[in-house]
Symmetry: C2
């Protein structure tokens, strides 16, 4: 076996996105102890910067020591008790995963379905609450990574509040890429991932819980169905006064990487980052349409950072094109997922990947690969 | 906020251990996609090298994308179904954590207790099986990080097998440091951590499951109480033939670090690593005894890689000494944990930290700090 030297890819799939050199270098700083006062001080800064990124004052804001799927599980494991009713909105892969989470925690999922490629319909959510007035939680995906759709988080959270329920939001792909206002929109529980618009390597999942959510967790009658993700234990490490209590060993180097990524976001400015994602999307969109690629999602619901597109009829074997992009152009774009597998490509513009240079690489590589692999060219 | 530049510590606590420059550099290589064929090829090598480290042919051997606590939870979540009986051996902090895991998965824990600082007593385990003949699993900690005790894993697993039960072993601190024979000893499920004797940063948890264990998992009647750790889903990513199915986004850079750490273990040779840990322990032991520090654990049960010692009477404020070691000598040693908090120090000799240079640093720093902080010197 030999040391692994990865090819230098341009990452324009659904995540991970390109990781800036500064973040990579931060990962390689010497490992120190997870209870070292120097590390604990850095953790406090991570918490402060995550609050800024989430637009929240929530005390309970920190990164889970595992990928976004574990952040999702942390939210459901801590908020759902056996027989709790939860309204789950499914309009793509990740809503379906939420339903699995509810059921594995012993809860009852009431599903609100919308077509893949369309946003969650607030009217259906309202109807679901009327039908299930005891529902404790409304859970939905803000930015569906499987389809590239943005749902109206503000409106959905207001409906949850109106019916006395908590809101639980998947922001894996939205944090740092589009407007996301945890406090102003009244989001009670939210999770994200390090490897999307924050441009860090995968492996950490920022979460935040409102005071209301924290009170619900504190008054649980059943133990959380996870020791690793039980917030009453995890927080003794993340929120101790001065002396932190050992819970698990935090991924020290990954945390230093996230710290650096958050500093970069802070330097750019959160709103500037949102604007950049929007601008880059406009540039990419024009180029993709030129190539004959059609967007799956109606313009008003599109995520700038995740562009799901149908390929032109000349493409008979879409996997061949993606392989060609990777092998000949070192460009990664995403395949379709779930119901859209084989039918679309997902082109990410997340974090550091949302830049002019990447867009140029992507458009010229796509043009060449489609031409090479297809029977006719896309622009014929 | 400014970029975080950690102090350069010498890590001789209960983990993380010193991470070699080669591993740190591997972390900083460019991030690539978790489904990239180049990454998938590297994953296959990680699996092969982990099998070598565990001394097993188990197909189901790979790193969980989260720290050791999640590896523990993966084992219990997949093997324990509601109302299953599990014999749990508690002789330190981590056995207690196992009990928590069983209960949160709906199982019934029958506890075999031994005093902290002593190994699990096989006679008590045998008696527990006689009393609870339906017990499905025997779970114990091979190397108790909280006390520095090695239990006789081979004998304990043989007892489990005799009573038709599966064995589930915590090898967080033992893998790569002392003899550990998954196949020869008949271990059915085992988990470890990246940050101990493998000398990688914390954040990954190597696990391995025997064919017997895999069959038990495949014939479950209840869904696993975790979506993130459900092996039937995780393995579609780690074991797919060629095309891997997306489950979660693996911590790509951390995996590259683990790959490098495993190469280094392979270069040294597993048995050589075991021998080195033993030799370094002998050197450290002589020095510690010279300083008037007394071992908590009887010689025959001691772990070479985790030395729990009582400090001399001259030390009135043990935390002050540890602070002095950290601030004046950049040396981290571990505090006591649980029942031993405030009563012992835990001096780690794990992975790259198990070397002459560290031992010299440790002994001279300890001597100076004890002298500085104590009323009289330790060797008076």
């Amino acid at each position: 076996m030999q040391s692994f030297h990865p090819p230098k890819r341009t990452l324009m799939g659904p995540g991970p996105s390109d990781v800036p050199r500064r973040v990579l270098q931060a990962l390689a700083r010497p490992t120190i102890g997870h209870l070292d006062p120097a590390f604990v001080g850095m953790m406090d800064e991570v918490k402060i910067m995550l609050r800024q990124a989430f637009c929240t004052d929530n005390a309970l804001t920190f990164p889970i020591s595992a990928p976004g799927s574990a952040g999702m599980e942390c939210c459901f494991a801590n908020l759902v008790e056996p027989d709790d009713e939860v309204i789950i909105c499914i309009n793509g892969v990740f809503g379906g995963r939420m339903k699995e989470n509810v059921e594995r925690m012993g809860g009852i999922a009431h599903v609100v379905e919308d077509a893949w490629g369309t946003p969650v319909d607030p009217n259906k959510v309202r109807a679901a609450f009327v039908q299930h007035p005891k529902a404790k939680i409304l859970a939905f995906v803000h930015a569906e990574t499987s389809t590239g759709v943005r749902s109206d988080a503000k409106t959905l959270c207001a409906i949850a509040r109106e019916f006395g329920a908590l809101s639980l939001v998947d922001a894996v792909t939205s944090l740092g890429g589009i407007e996301l206002q945890v406090d102003a929109w009244g989001i009670d529980a939210i999770y994200s991932g390090s490897q999307k618009c924050l441009s860090c390597p995968p492996g950490l999942s920022p979460v935040s819980f409102s005071k209301r959510a924290a009170e619900v967790i504190a008054s649980r009658t059943h133990k959380v169905r996870s020791w690793f993700l039980d917030l009453s234990l995890v927080m003794a490490y993340w929120q101790g006064d001065g002396a932190r209590t050992y819970h698990h060993t935090a991924p020290v180097n990954a945390m230093v990487g996230l710290h650096e990524g958050l500093i970069m976001l802070h330097e750019e400015g959160l709103q500037n980052a949102w604007v950049r994602h929007g601008l880059m999307h406009e540039h990419l969109k024009a180029g993709l349409e030129n190539l004959g690629l059609r967007f799956v999602v109606e313009e008003q619901y599109r995520l700038p950072q995740l562009n799901a597109v149908q390929f032109p009829a000349s493409v008979q074997d879409e996997a061949k094109v993606r392989r060609h992009l990777l092998e000949q152009h070192n460009l990664e774009i995403g395949a379709g997922l779930g119901a859209l597998a084989g039918k679309v490509w997902r082109i990410g513009l997340m974090g550091a990947s949302a830049c002019e240079e990447n867009i140029e690489i992507c458009l010229s590589a796509l043009e060449a690969s489609i031409k090479q692999c297809g029977q006719t060219t896309a622009i014929d």
